[in-house]
């Protein structure tokens, strides 16, 4: 692996910022073979030679305690041209201890002392020349968040790569060596803490930490609700005026190649458009097709199904870009900021007591927050859970009670038509369900949950470049992962409706008694229940075209919230656990959704 350069270091030392600053925009996220651990890799040119720079998952030690740490160890074992070891200057001893372990792999190393500003604030002074002497390797000081020290790092890395010399090798106890070096190169005097330190500490104190946490979470909700709503306006314009016309033009161009006569535009877009769409969705497509066949040719029919007002391509792009994307974007703007600022572990600490009473621990909350984006990475990420029970608890809670952001977007769109209190009521209901499911699951699942052990990083302002890149990667993943399944879901909808399957199901007596009787929904709502299996927002989106009452909208929200997560989640649960677990979740969520949704409906009716 002579063209590799590894970025190594403890978690939260700012490795990712170095990575972003050192590589171009062509970095990509990769998966370490045979694991769920992701790392970033990118190209970097030093001294005219190209290398692959790898942002290795942060690790405390070369005796791994998690899968991510095991991957870090494997990277060292595979070898590299050089290692850039990032040291947190404000926490030198523990960082040097890892460095000592790394020296045993005989790879040329360069050290960068990062967070020099934080160290200075804490009154720590480090003699860099002395440190170089001790490590017998180049040391560069840096404040990566502000882009300081990067040029010198590159220059000295180039010299290191040419000479390919290893520095001091630690044979004895790494802790003892680290302590000895630390004692020789650093001094500490007491200083008064700065603003960010004070704020970071205040956020950890039960008071004002708890009120701040509630405020931060309320702010996140507000960013999603209002930010998303605001963004919808330009995105609806973009979709209707640019994207959909472009798709239509492309299709018409293709069709024109085959059609002998020009397509009649008025017929396509204006004639009976709404009815066509509704029929495509809820009615009998053959009848529609028959009507059109009498007027136009087969090309006209096809064009209508694909790009008519409610055509498959039109609907799926409208829903993804104009309905879901704004909320997804607003959510990631907020959550990525919280993540990069080091705030999330503070929530884990503050709420550990409540989580412990519910049968999990505070650390699990980080997976729950991730699941608000998408359940799939959250379930993969839950591999870091130290016991089987904790992992099963996280997966159960996520599958039953945590809506993904695509679904949240659709829910907000549905709720906001009615009244301002619908959204907060939904949030409270979700929290109630969260606690209930956690309590029940902790009784049913055997085993134990390990208590919290969590390092709480310093609070910091995210580096804009790293933040924006992370945001861009997340949005790219969303668009890549969402449009195709949405297209499939809408296509299935059209086929189900067209072949009369949906009307057959909807008119089945048992289904009718559940949907119309127990849940009190219009019979067309069956479409949402069927499509919700494919993608979560589809358990809500088809309802937007129907005229629901207050109660129906709320019941629809409850059902959708508890209802089965999408097929991808089902797949990942089956892969990560046993098929039995996946089937249990599949059946359990459907039963719970219909049972509790119906209860809400029946109870509310007593008072109305």
């Amino acid at each position: 692996m002579s063209d590799r350069i590894l970025l190594m270091g403890n978690p939260n030392v700012g490795k990712s910022i170095f990575f972003t600053e050192l590589t171009g925009i062509h970095a990509m996220s990769s998966n370490y073979t045979g694991t769920t651990v992701n790392f970033m890799e990118g190209r970097i040119t030093i001294g005219g030679k190209e290398y692959t720079l790898i942002d290795v998952p942060g690790t405390y030690s070369m005796t791994p305690t998690s899968e991510a740490e095991a991957v870090a160890q494997k990277f060292m074992q595979e070898g590299a041209a050089a290692v850039i070891c990032v040291l947190d200057a404000s926490n030198l001893e523990r960082n040097l201890k890892l460095a000592m372990e790394l020296t045993r792999y005989n790879i040329p190393m360069i050290f960068t002392l990062n967070m020099m500003d934080v160290a200075a604030r804490h009154g720590v002074r480090i003699d860099i020349r002395q440190l170089e002497e001790q490590l017998k390797a180049p040391v560069v000081k840096s404040v990566a968040v502000k882009g300081k020290g990067l040029k010198e790092l590159i220059n000295r890395l180039e010299i290191l790569l040419k000479s390919a010399t290893c520095g001091r090798k630690c044979e004895g106890c790494p802790w003892a060596a680290a302590k000895e070096i630390c004692g020789r190169v650093s001094t500490q005097k007491s200083t008064s803490p700065g603003f960010l330190d004070k704020l970071g500490d205040a956020m950890l104190n039960p008071f004002p930490g708890l009120p701040i946490a509630i405020l931060v979470l309320a702010l996140l909700v507000a960013v999603v609700v209002f930010g998303g709503r605001g963004l919808r306006v330009p995105l609806i314009m973009l979709t209707d005026n640019l994207i959909i016309p472009a798709i239509r033009n492309a299709f018409e161009f293709v069709f024109a190649l085959f059609a002998s006569e020009p397509i009649s535009y008025s017929f396509l877009y204006y004639d009976n458009g709404f009815q066509t769409g509704t029929r495509l969705f809820y009615g009998n497509m053959w009848q529609t097709v028959g009507n059109y066949a009498a007027v136009g040719g087969i090309a006209d029919i096809l064009i209508n199904i694909l790009i008519g007002e409610y055509g498959i391509f039109v609907i799926s792009f409208q829903w993804i870009i104009a309905l879901i994307l704004p909320y997804v974007f607003a959510f990631y703007v907020g959550i990525t900021f919280l993540e990069d600022s080091g705030y999330l572990p503070r929530i884990s600490v503050l709420f550990d007591n409540i989580m412990r009473k519910l049968g999990v621990q505070g650390g699990s909350l980080i997976h729950v927050f991730l699941a608000l984006g998408c359940a799939v990475p959250a379930i993969l990420g839950s591999r870091t859970a130290t016991t089987k029970k904790e992992r099963l608890m996280i997966v159960t809670i996520v599958c039953f009670t945590i809506p993904c952001i695509s679904q949240i977007g659709a829910l907000i769109a549905l709720m906001s038509v009615f009244s301002w209190w619908m959204t907060p009521a939904m949030v409270l209901f979700t929290m109630l369900m969260f606690a209930t499911v956690a309590l029940i699951a902790s009784k049913l699942i055997k085993g134990s949950v390990d208590p919290l052990i969590l390092e709480v990083p310093n609070l910091l302002l995210p580096n804009p470049k790293t933040y924006l890149r992370k945001l861009a990667i997340r949005m790219k993943h969303f668009l890549k992962d969402a449009e195709f399944p949405m297209l499939i879901a809408v296509f299935i909808a059209a086929v189900l409706a067209g072949t009369g399957i949906i009307s057959a199901i909807a008119q089945n007596a048992a289904v009718q008694s559940i949907v119309s009787g127990w849940l009190g929904m219009p019979e067309e709502a069956v479409v949402a229940l069927i499509l919700g299996i494919v993608r979560r927002e589809m358990s809500v989106a088809p309802l937007l075209i129907l005229n629901l009452t207050y109660l129906q909208a709320f019941v629809a929200g409850v059902v959708s919230l508890l209802y089965l997560p999408c097929l991808s989640v089902f797949g990942i649960v089956a892969k990560e656990f046993k098929i039995k677990t996946a089937v249990l979740i599949f059946v359990g969520t459907i039963v719970a959704a219909i049972f509790i949704g119906g209860m809400v409906n029946q109870i509310a009716r007593l008072f109305m």
Partner: protein, 73 residues
């Protein structure tokens, strides 16, 4: 000698023994480490430590009770 969960906010302590948990060792919570209690949390919450004046670690109640510590000045 007391266990860590009994320590009060603001107390300075020296770790006497820790249970055999890899992550505690790797984080640097070892025999002889100096810590101070930054915060305690009601209702069975964790203990938040400042370790060697360098970094903060939260330790859940059920582990904190297994860590014995000695008060220092």
């Amino acid at each position: 000698m007391i266990n860590l969960y009994q320590a009060k906010k603001g107390q300075n302590l020296r770790v006497v023994s820790v249970p055999d948990i890899g992550l505690l060792q790797n984080l640097g919570l070892r025999e002889g480490t100096y810590v101070s209690v930054k915060n305690r949390y009601a209702l069975g919450g964790p203990v938040l430590l400042r370790v060697e004046k360098a970094f903060s670690v939260a330790v859940g109640k059920d582990i904190a009770t297994q860590i014995s510590v000695k008060e220092t000045v």
